[in-house]
């Protein structure tokens, strides 16, 4: 579970950038529209997660996999996303494999070269050493990357805060309107309840 409610929001700056790129140049996107899309995107994530999770449950698997997400897109009537998503997945797999393959190739090349020199015993030792060293490096990388991500998030959030300060009045008004309506309704319901109780008594 998220610790703070704002953890469930996506960075507004990224949402704005994607929206601006989607519409022709020069089209202005209202702040209200951007906030709405941002909220919709969070709901989309939850909806997609839930749909995909249904497939994982059906398959009695605990881990959500790529096929579950594709099946979810079909359920959600976003079939048009499947093709671009498959392309992206290939890129993703390529990148994930990239590092491993590259280091394996290097190792292969080197061991070939050393075989040619005929120093088998030395080669085994050195490749073993390299293995352990690379493992350590990989672990470090993962941690480093996550740290970077968080940093970026914070930066973006800061920007958002600034933006929101400027337009605070506008937003405040909207919220007030909604709350007023809600209170009115609640008041009406309560009145009705009271009447009922009195009548019974």
């Amino acid at each position: 579970m998220a610790e703070r409610p704002e953890d469930l929001n996506l960075p507004h700056s990224v949402i704005t950038r994607i929206m601006k790129e989607a519409v022709p140049e020069g089209v202005s996107v209202s702040k209200e529209a951007r906030n709405a899309v941002s909220k919709a995107a969070s709901v989309f994530v939850l909806y997609a997660t839930s749909c995909a999770n249904n497939y994982a449950l059906k398959g009695k698997r605990k881990t959500l996999n790529a096929a579950d997400v594709f099946a979810a897109m079909k359920d959600m009537e976003f079939e048009e996303f499947i093709e671009p998503l498959e392309k992206s997945l290939q890129e993703f797999r390529h990148e994930q494999k990239g590092k491993k393959e590259a280091s394996e190739k290097r190792k292969q090349n080197r061991s070939d070269a050393e075989k040619a020199e005929g120093e088998d015993s030395e080669q085994n030792i050195s490749s073993e050493m390299e293995d352990s060293r690379e493992d350590a490096e990989d672990e470090e990388d993962v941690e480093g990357e996550e740290g970077e991500d968080e940093d970026i998030d914070e930066d973006i959030d800061d920007e958002d805060d600034d933006e929101e300060d400027i337009d605070d009045e506008e937003d405040g008004e909207d919220v007030e309107e909604i709350e007023d309506d809600g209170e009115e309704n609640v008041g009406q319901v309560e009145d009705v309840d009271d009447d009922d109780v009195q009548e019974v008594e």
């Binding site: 949402i15 929206m19 709405a36 995107a41 999770n53 959500l64 997400v69 671009p84 080197r110």
Partner: protein, 116 residues
């Protein structure tokens, strides 16, 4: 060994390049947090996390394009355009509660009176 030093140097460059040409625009960590807020989710696979992030980007692009292409005023995109698309397009039905069509309080009260 010259190869070794070249390797570590390249690694630094790769990392820098990753920042500018990352595969996803939206932060993956944030998407994971949102996914985890769903109570029945257990383990999120790397690929499914990436795909949902990517799908969300496509979704934002899609809803913006659809709203703009259906709006009368081609110079701006406002809330009303989005609510209209949500109302019209079956795929966006799940957003009906999130992006409701705006109704004036006056009209709403009127409709309440008419119904009763």
């Amino acid at each position: 060994m010259p190869m070794k030093s070249g390797f570590s140097h390249n690694r630094g460059l790769e990392k820098m390049a990753d920042k500018s040409t990352k595969l996803t625009l939206l932060p993956v960590a944030r998407i994971r947090t949102i996914m985890k807020s769903s109570p029945d989710i257990t383990v999120i696979g790397q690929e499914s996390l990436f795909l949902i992030t990517k799908a969300t980007e496509l979704f934002v692009q899609h809803i913006a394009q659809e709203s703009h292409s259906r709006s009368q005023n081609k110079n701006s995109l406002v809330y009303g355009n989005l609510a209209q698309v949500v109302d019209d397009d079956i795929a966006f039905q799940f957003l009906a509660d999130v992006l409701p069509k705006k109704v004036l309080a006056r009209d709403y009260l009127q409709s309440l009176e008419n119904n009763s």
